[in-house]
């Protein structure tokens, strides 16, 4: 719930009316290196929003930003902290552009592109918006996006000028008892390619249908970037999650062991899977950076798209 004075959020302690001053008081206590400014992102939570409402979200967000900037100036403790301006505007191109241009005028340290979260189909329709928005932003300031974390979507956004992403995707994969296994080495040695291909073919054969999994708080479908360790076929699989992965889990444990931990509901399952999934995901980003440096993003994109369902 948003009004001109505040954004209301619901926490374990009940409803919190987050005014600019309350928000900035919290920032003073936290002393973050960067912080995302208070904004009105409500339009992305709702279906069919009127242009009037979208316009309001842009205006309010700019107002919040200006007030936060003012309070930051007055705060000694926050001198080293950097405010990230939030770009709103829903699905209305005109408003998106306005939000981008106006936010860029302010002395922010970077930009957060809000309202692009959703499912893969909604992102596709918003990619054009994304390109237009980033075109308005200065080259020398980072662009963050919230709600986008899948490997294929990440690449689409990077192509359109995004620099930073949230890593909730590996977390979701962990929560559903799965391990990331997708390949991102776009320049493997030939022997490795053969082994990988054999592996991938196995996975594709058994993944004709994407299964829907209901896990705590996670109604996401299993993607083709991962394997489901609960499946019986891993019961006697003494390979690591991913050959060659140097994470703690892959160096010390087998698929069979993880399978056992999941079947017996042991806490350690999540610990080990999370370690692997983060390492794998960060490894992917390392390869993205390398690909960009050597102008091989297309190859990486092709590789990822081959594996996307």
């Amino acid at each position: 719930m948003v009004c001109w004075q505040s954004v209301s959020v619901w926490s374990v302690a009940g409803r919190v009316e987050m005014t600019v001053s309350k928000f900035m008081a919290i920032q003073q206590a936290l002393q973050p290196d960067w912080f995302q400014c208070l904004s009105d992102g409500e339009v992305s939570c709702k279906e069919a929003t009127s242009i009037k409402r979208v316009r309001k979200s842009v205006d309010r967000s700019l107002l919040f930003l200006d007030n936060c900037l003012r309070l930051q100036e007055e705060s000694e403790v926050l001198q080293k902290s950097v405010i990230i301006g939030v770009i709103e505007g829903g699905d209305v191109m005109e408003e998106r552009l306005r939000s981008a241009r106006e936010t860029a005028k302010r002395p922010v340290g970077g930009f957060l592109l809000d309202g692009f979260q959703g499912n893969p189909t909604t992102l596709e329709t918003r990619l054009r918006l994304l390109s237009s928005v980033t075109a308005e932003l200065p080259e020398d300031k980072p662009r963050l996006i919230s709600g986008v974390s899948r490997p294929d979507e990440v690449l689409e956004c990077i192509e359109r000028g995004v620099d930073l992403f949230e890593s909730f995707f590996p977390y979701q994969v962990t929560e559903r008892g799965c391990a990331l296994t997708f390949s991102f080495d776009y320049q493997p040695n030939p022997e490795e390619t053969l082994l990988q291909q054999n592996g991938t073919q196995e996975e594709i054969k058994c993944m004709d249908q994407i299964k829907k999994m209901e896990t705590t708080g996670c109604n996401q479908e299993i993607t083709s970037f991962e394997i489901n360790l609960k499946e019986k076929k891993y019961q006697e699989d003494f390979n690591p999650l991913v050959r060659g992965c140097s994470c703690y889990c892959c160096k010390n444990h087998t698929r069979a062991y993880i399978h056992h931990l999941l079947v017996t509901n042991e806490l350690l399952a999540g610990v080990l899977l999370m370690m692997h999934n983060f390492e794998h995901y960060f490894g992917f980003f390392h390869y993205i950076r390398e690909a960009l440096k050597s102008d091989k993003l297309t190859q990486l994109k092709e590789l990822i798209h081959r594996q996307a369902s």
């Binding site: 374990v12 019961q235 006697e236 003494f238 703690y248 010390n252 444990h253 087998t254 069979a256 062991y257 056992h260 931990l261 079947v263 017996t264 042991e266 806490l267 350690l268 999540g270 610990v271 080990l272």
Partner: protein
């Protein structure tokens, strides 16, 4: 009624215990167990990792805490994932990637804890699986067979376990049957050179029955003895007397493993009574309820009083949790929607138990165990004289007076 010792094992059992020091007053001993996966200093507390994992913590974390032996459970592992799979994985050590020692319980205790799912006959224990309703018979032979597949360093005989609150002829029946089952376990054991089979003294809370069991079982040349059938619902007064009776009749040169103990006070007292090895789910279980063990008892970190307490759980503790995190942080984590706090507390509680045993051992080696006991009780109860009666009595029985 008692079976004669079978001639199945003609070799004398390996002497795995080396005594390093003995308390001149009490029965406390410090020693070393020489096991296939390394030496273990005693007295030792063995954390329980029932299903091939220490709840929520990695083997690396466990190793870093100094743990050199922990428990797995035959009943649970026998069902999931099963001995065949574990054998394919290079035994339980290979399956869970634990480089140090493992002790497996025989499945006997589940007869008590899962009594509604079990039925005991001379043949063995018939369990109905809670997972698929299938029936399994856990006989002495089967239990040893599973443990042979698991490859644990110390294996336990299958015993006929009755709850310590049970009285009457069932206790006697169980005691004699445990002796017969011990002989069957010895006969079935395929790897006596690689895995050490311990006997388990039964007899409930009846001194005569216990004495009989001790007399008979010590005729069998096994590498070690466990004291079983206690740490249930019995009174502490009866408990310590049975422990003391047992240690008085067990050979000095073999390890004494008191099963299912436990709480810090119990550990200290039972070391005084002459026990060397202990196991209990308490420290790891209580961690998962948000309780941190400290020398003065425990801290219920969920409570509001810790909300702004920025000190560690225990300033003297060297565990990673106490090195890195405050009570306030753990309190906040306990009120969040993830399990992080449970992992931190499990690490700390295991560290607490291991550090306690280490301190006990050092005091025995340095010939000041009775003073250690007095200090310990003083810290725990505010004053040594405020120590619970049973503990005072038990300690007095072995020459240690408090205050």
């Amino acid at each position: 009624m008692a079976g004669a010792a079978t001639q199945a094992s003609l070799e004398s059992a390996p002497r795995i215990m080396r005594l390093v020091a003995e308390c001149s007053r009490s029965r406390a001993r410090a020693g070393e167990l020489r096991l296939p996966h390394g030496t273990v200093a005693t007295p030792v507390f063995m954390p329980v990792g029932t299903q091939a994992t220490m709840k929520g913590i990695t083997t690396e974390q466990l190793d870093a805490l100094g743990c050199r032996i922990c428990l797995g459970n035959t009943y649970h592992l026998g069902l999931r994932p099963g001995p065949e799979l574990i054998q394919k994985a290079n035994g339980l050590h290979g399956f869970m990637n634990w480089p140090h020692n493992l002790l497996t319980d025989s499945g006997g205790f589940q007869m008590v804890s899962l009594v509604s799912l079990s039925e005991v006959t001379e043949e063995g224990v018939r369990f109905r699986s809670p997972y698929d309703g299938n029936e399994t018979l856990l006989s002495p032979e089967k239990s040893v067979q599973i443990q042979n597949a698991l490859g644990s360093d110390i294996i336990m005989q299958l015993d006929d376990v009755v709850s310590s609150t049970v009285t009457g002829p069932r206790v006697e029946e169980a005691m004699y049957r445990s002796i017969r089952w011990l002989d069957r376990c010895i006969a079935a054991h395929q790897r006596p050179d690689k895995q050490y089979l311990f006997a388990i003294i039964q007899g409930g809370l009846d001194a005569d029955l216990r004495a009989t069991c001790l007399e008979e079982m010590t005729k069998r040349d096994v590498p070690g003895f466990a004291i079983g059938g206690l740490s249930g619902g019995e009174s502490k007064s009866q408990f310590w007397r049975m422990v003391a009776l047992s240690t008085s009749r067990l050979p000095k040169d073999k390890p004494r493993y008191l099963m299912g103990v436990g709480y810090a006070t119990d550990l200290v007292v039972c070391v005084a009574l002459g026990c060397d090895m202990f196991d209990c789910v308490f420290p790891t279980r209580t961690a998962r309820f948000g309780s941190a063990l400290v020398p003065t008892g425990n801290l219920q970190l969920r409570k509001k009083v810790f909300e702004k307490d920025f000190g560690p759980i225990d300033p003297e503790c060297t565990c990673p949790t106490c090195q890195k995190h405050s009570r306030a942080f753990l309190h906040a984590l306990l009120h969040s929607d993830n399990t992080a706090a449970l992992h931190h507390l499990t690490v700390h509680n295991i560290a607490y138990q291991l550090q306690l045993m280490s301190a006990v051992r050092t005091s025995i080696v340095e010939k000041r165990f009775p003073d250690f006991v007095r200090d310990f009780m003083g810290t725990m109860y505010g004053d040594p004289t405020l120590c619970p009666t049973w503990a005072t009595d038990a300690l007095a029985s072995v020459g240690i007076t408090l205050g």
